[in-house]
Symmetry: C2
Subunit: 326 residues, 2 copies
C-alpha cells in the first residue's frame, strides 16, 4: 500500500473522529464506556473497590485490543495473550473466553465508538493480603473502551516522527522480578523513564535491561533497522501484537527480522528506529538523545511497514465486525 492510500485511511479516521466529537452531547459514552460487575457506565464515572487487590497491591493483568473503523483488530490474539498472562500470574478469567468476547463486543457496540482502545483488566479480587497466594479466590474483571488514542499522533508519524531518549536514570524491571511478558499495570520503572524523557526535552523513553541491552518503553516495543535488517529485543519486553504484525510484514516483504539481544549501542548507529504499539501503530523515531536518526527523516523501511500495518486493518483475516445498533 502506498502513502496516498495511507493518507486516505487517516483522512477517513479524522472524519469519524469529527463525527464522534459532534455526538458527545447525545452519546453518554462518547468519551468512553466501562463495564463494571455487569453494568455499563460512562468511563469517567466507573469505580472499582478500594479493597480489590488489583488496586491494593497491583495484583492484576490486562490486555488492550483496538477497534479500527468499526472492527476489532486481531482480537483473538489479544484474548489469547490475556489468558497466557493470567496463567503466569495464577489468575483465571471469571467468565469464559466466548462470553468475554461477546461482552467486549457488546460494550463497544453500546458505546458507538468506531475507533477505540478496549481494555480488559483481570484482578486478584477481594481477599486478605495474607492470602494473596490463595488460589480459591474468584478473580474480578473490569472492562472499558475509550476513543482510540495515539502514543504518537498519526500526523507526526507521517511527517516529523518523534524524539526519544535511552533512559540512563532508570532501567527496566528484570524478568526475574516482574515478568514483562505478562502485561501489567505496574508502571513504576516506565513512569520514571517518562520523567527522564520529559526532563531531557524528548517524548519517548527506551529502557535498557541494566546490562547494556534494549528492552522496551511505556507500552511500546522497540525496532531498529540496520542494513535492511530489523532488530528487536527478544527478552525483557512484552511480545507485542503490533510487533508481531511487523514480523509478518517483513516476511512477505522479504526483510529479515532478528529477534535477539539488541545492544543499546546499536540504536546510535542504525539506519532507522521505530516503535510499535496497538495504541498508535508504527511510530518513527527521528531523534535520539538529541541527535538526528536517518538525518531526521522518517526512513523508507519504517514508511513501508507503517503503510502495510494499516493496510492489514482492512484484511478480513484480522477483523471482527462490531455490530452497532444505530
Amino acid at each position: 500500500m502506498d502513502a496516498v492510500a495511507l493518507n486516505t485511511i487517516f483522512r477517513a479516521y479524522d472524519d469519524r473522529l469529527a463525527e464522534l466529537d459532534a455526538s458527545a452531547s447525545t452519546n453518554p459514552y462518547a468519551r468512553g464506556i466501562a463495564w463494571i460487575a455487569g453494568e455499563y457506565v460512562p468511563l469517567h464515572e466507573a469505580r472499582v473497590p478500594l479493597v480489590d487487590q488489583g488496586f491494593l497491591h497491583g495484583y492484576q493483568t490486562y490486555d488492550a485490543p483496538a477497534v479500527w473503523d468499526g472492527q476489532f483488530f486481531r482480537l483473538d490474539d489479544h484474548i489469547a495473550r490475556l489468558e497466557a498472562s493470567c496463567a503466569r500470574l495464577r489468575l483465571r478469567l471469571p467468565i469464559s473466553r466466548e462470553e468475554l468476547k461477546r461482552l467486549l463486543a457488546e460494550m463497544v457496540a453500546k458505546s458507538g465508538l468506531r475507533d477505540a482502545l478496549a481494555e480488559m483488566i483481570v484482578t486478584k479480587g477481594i481477599v486478605d493480603t495474607r492470602q494473596l497466594a490463595s488460589d480459591t479466590v474468584i478473580n474480578n474483571l473490569y472492562m472499558f473502551a475509550k476513543p482510540y488514542s495515539w502514543v504518537m499522533r498519526h500526523g507526526m508519524q507521517q511527517t516529523t516522527g518523534g524524539s526519544a531518549i535511552v533512559a540512563r536514570t532508570v532501567r527496566r524491571v528484570p524478568p526475574g522480578a516482574i515478568d514483562p511478558t505478562a502485561k501489567s499495570l505496574q508502571w513504576g520503572d516506565l513512569v520514571r523513564a517518562m520523567f527522564e524523557a520529559q526532563d531531557r526535552g524528548a517524548t519517548y523513553a527506551m529502557l535498557t535491561d541494566g546490562d547494556g541491552n534494549l528492552t522496551e518503553g511505556p507500552a511500546f516495543n522497540i525496532l531498529l533497522v540496520n542494513d535492511g535488517v530489523i532488530y528487536t529485543p527478544d527478552r525483557g519486553c512484552l511480545k507485542g501484537i503490533t510487533r508481531e504484525c511487523v514480523f509478518e510484514i517483513a516476511k512477505y516483504s522479504g526483510l529479515t527480522v532478528r529477534c535477539e539481544v539488541v545492544p543499546v549501542d546499536m540504536a546510535y548507529h542504525c539506519d532507522e528506529i521505530f516503535l510499535s504499539s496497538t495504541a498508535g501503530g508504527i511510530m518513527p523515531i527521528t531523534s535520539l538523545d538529541g541527535q538526528a536518526v536517518n538525518g531526521g527523516e522518517v526512513g523508507p523501511v519504517t514508511k513501508m511497514v507503517m503503510s502495510e500495518y494499516w493496510a492489514m486493518h482492512y484484511d478480513s483475516k484480522y477483523r471482527l465486525e462490531v455490530k452497532y445498533t444505530d
Copy 2:
C-alpha cells in the same frame, strides 16, 4: 520489659478485639472505614475511580501507621516517610500535613477502632496516560483504617515462630528500576515470592537482590542475629519504621547493629532470624528452607527486642492519642 508484661499487653489486646467483634452489629465501621473525597464509608463499600492512574498504571505511594490501644504509634515518622515517598515519585499531598493528621485521626476516631492499621494512599489522580509525567495534575488521597492485622499472629510470635524460605524463583525489583524506599503498592515480585513460599510449604518469603544478598519480604524487613550482632540490609528494601525501633532498642540495650550488604548465605549460618513490620511487630523465623533456625526456638535477642518493641507502644514519646467520641 519481661515476657509476663508482654503477655499482659497481648491479653488486653485480645479483650479489646473481642469487644470489637461484639460491636460489629452496631458499628458500621467495625470491619474498617474509608475516607474517599471527604466522605466516610465502610471500607468494603469504598470505591476509587477506575481512571485514577493509581489504579490504571499503579502510579501511587502510601504509608500505613498503626493505632495501638487507642494511640497512634510514631505517626509523625510515617507521615514524614510518606512525604519523602511522594517527593521521589513527583507526587504532592493534596492537603497540608497538619490537615492530613487531623483527618486521619478523625477517621480512626469515627471508626471506634482501638487497634488499627491506617493507610494513606496518594495517587497520581486523573490524567491521560501520555501525560503521566506532567507535574500540573492534582494528586488524589485515599485513606482507610481496618482492624489491626498481623503478618504473623502474636500467639505464634511468642511460641513457635514462623517458617520462611529464601525465594529462588524470583528476585526483588532492583532500586534502579523501582525504588523500594518509596513505599509502593506494586507488589509483582513480592506476590511471586508469596506463591513460592506457599508452594514450598512455608509462610514467609525473603527475597534477594539477584546478586546473592538479602533485601526484604512482602511488607517486612529482615534482621539476622549472629554472635550478638544484628545484621540487616542497607539497600534494596524499605527503611522500615519498626526496624528503626529495633535500631533504637539495640542502642539502649548495648547491641551492635550493622546495616549493610547482607549476603544471603548468612541467613543459613546465623543464630536468629526475625522480621519487622508495622503490621505485626517483631516476628521470629524458626525455620528456613525447611531447616530449624536456633534449634527451632524463638531466640533470646528476638524475645528481648519483641518485648521492648511493645513496651515502646506505651512510651508517651511515640504516642498520639485518638480522641474517640464514645
